[in-house]
């Protein structure tokens, strides 16, 4: 109510007026969102943030109380464009109108983040991020492609890793701008170039750390579509580990750093060498070969011993026959002759037996010893031959008929023959 009446007119005090104005503002002006540029900014000792916000023709004072000011995720400075939410307040003490801010964020980032989410939703819907389409990375690529800035950290870190693990691996670089106007187009073209060039089995696409704005090219639709369309698997390495870009979603694999990306595709030469040497060693272990040839030696041995057995028996029965027919002749003369012949036959038998006994042992023992060596051809050099008919090895004589054509391989050379 007006305090002073002067005749019929009523006059409010300044305080009352200020209070009234403030009350009007508060009721008719609820929370409002607005954008402006910070032209002045002071953080008082109290923790409250005092600012001036302007646009081209106007300015307003603004304040953010300590509680809210402490939760700011960026540093407010002169020149920064900000998005704010707040309420007007007329501070009676100074007569100043100020906006009391409940929230403030840098205008650029806010807009970009919204765009990011919109794009993400749109492209996800199209299936560009589908897990099912992600390809396997090659185990040992013939060559690696890289789309990044020639002067950046990405190519540098990758080359370091390659020199360490597999220096012989060729790297093809497409030098592109990684931020700013036109960067997205260059990156997309780089990916297409590598696909056309067609010598790499995998590629790494990315750039070093930066703000959302710096990394923005890797969120552009053009780049995401190029990654999706790439025949060659793509690893993305964009920004730092905590940075997320739409390229990461479209890529076949995402690496937190360029070094990690290189580790995903470059196998360690030392590991591979070890694996090959192990296999080579096993291949040379001929104890397995031994069993194969043992079989064949056994067969040969049997044939040999049955032959010798036959000779022995033949000699024995010849001797017996001789003895019998001797008895039929004149005793004296016959006895003389016969004892000579007996001794002779005895000797023959003896040496035949000797031969049988020693030769029976010999080939087998010798073979057994020699065969712990190596190459199957060494067996052939021992005098054995490999007999083949129609390209197949013959190990059973019963398989053969008269006139069968044979191919016989010796330790040295080979011949063609026919069975008699």
């Amino acid at each position: 109510m007006p305090r002073i009446a002067q005749g019929e007119k009523e006059y409010f005090s300044i305080s009352e007026l200020a209070h009234l104005l403030n009350a009007t503002l508060e009721t008719s002006f609820p929370r409002i969102r607005f954008e402006g540029e910070i032209s002045e900014c002071t953080l008082a000792k109290s923790g409250h943030l005092y600012m001036r916000l302007k646009d081209d023709t106007s300015q307003l004072e603004a304040v953010m109380w300590r509680g809210n000011a402490q939760t700011l995720t960026f540093k407010p400075e002169r020149g920064v464009q900000v998005l704010c939410e707040g309420r007007p307040n007329l501070y009676a003490g100074s007569g100043k109108l100020q906006m009391v801010l409940s929230s403030m964020s840098p205008s650029g980032e806010g807009a970009l983040q919204r765009r990011f989410l919109e794009l993400k939703a749109k492209l996800e819907k199209e299936g560009l991020f589908d897990l099912s389409r992600k390809r396997q990375l090659p185990f040992f690529p013939n060559a690696i492609g890289v789309v990044t800035s020639a002067s950046g950290a990405v190519i540098h870190d990758i080359m370091v890793k390659i020199k360490e693990r597999m220096p012989s691996l060729p790297v093809y670089l497409v030098d592109v701008r990684v931020q700013g106007e036109g960067a997205a187009h260059e990156i997309a073209e780089g990916i297409k170039l590598l696909n056309e060039h067609s010598k790499v089995d995998v590629m790494i696409v990315g750039r070093g750390g930066g703000s959302l704005e710096d990394l923005w090219a890797f969120n552009e639709e053009e780049v995401v579509r190029a990654i999706f369309a790439s025949r060659i698997p793509v690893i993305s390495s964009v920004g730092h580990e905590s940075d997320v870009s739409l390229s990461d979603f479209a890529a076949d694999k995402r690496a937190p750093t360029p070094t990690a990306a290189a580790e995903m595709v470059v196998p360690k030469r030392s590991d591979l060498v070890a694996r090959i040497e192990e296999l080579s060693g096993r291949l040379s272990e001929y104890s397995r070969w031994f069993s194969v040839f043992e079989q064949h030696v056994d067969i040969l041995d049997q044939r040999l011993s049955s032959k010798m057995e036959a000779i022995f028996q033949h000699a024995e029965s010849a001797l017996k026959r001789g003895e019998a027919s001797l008895k039929a002749l004149h005793p004296q003369r016959i006895l003389q002759l016969s004892s000579q012949r007996v001794s002779a036959l005895e000797m023959q038998l003896g040496s035949a037996l000797e031969r049988v006994l020693s030769s029976k042992k010999n080939p087998v023992a010798v073979l057994a010893g020699r065969l712990e060596a190596l190459n199957p051809y060494k067996v052939l050099k021992r005098g054995y031959s490999l007999v083949q008919k129609d390209g197949h090895v013959v190990s059973n004589a019963l398989e053969l008929k008269k006139n069968d054509p044979l191919h016989i391989v010796f330790g040295e050379g080979d011949v063609r023959a026919r069975v008699e």
């Binding site: 670089l173 060039h197 296999l279 291949l283 083949q388």
Partner: protein, 90 residues
């Protein structure tokens, strides 16, 4: 991307030019082939004829793989699109 071929031990043993075949195979496949081959020889699963051939071909693969791994220095080539749209390597 390198071509994916179905190569078995049989294919390798019967190939007219096994060295050429190996050149065209991706490293991974050659290595896998060698492992299969060595395992088969060890099992004694192969008849004599095959065993001999497998030993020879196995040694061939080992040589090829060793050679691939000991090739020369790191190579960085830069690619760009030339004026006529062709790819220029430097």
């Amino acid at each position: 991307m390198a071509k994916e071929k179905e190569i078995t031990i049989e294919t390798l043993l019967e190939a007219k030019d096994p060295a050429k075949l190996l050149q065209e195979l991706p490293f991974e496949q050659s290595l896998h082939l060698l492992e299969t081959l060595v395992a088969a020889v060890e099992r004694g699963a192969l008849p004599l004829e095959r065993s001999i051939q497998s030993y020879e071909k196995g040694a061939l693969i080992v040589e090829h793989l060793r050679e691939t791994l000991t090739k020369a220095e790191a190579r960085l080539a830069t690619l760009k699109r030339g004026k006529g749209g062709e790819i220029v390597e430097s």
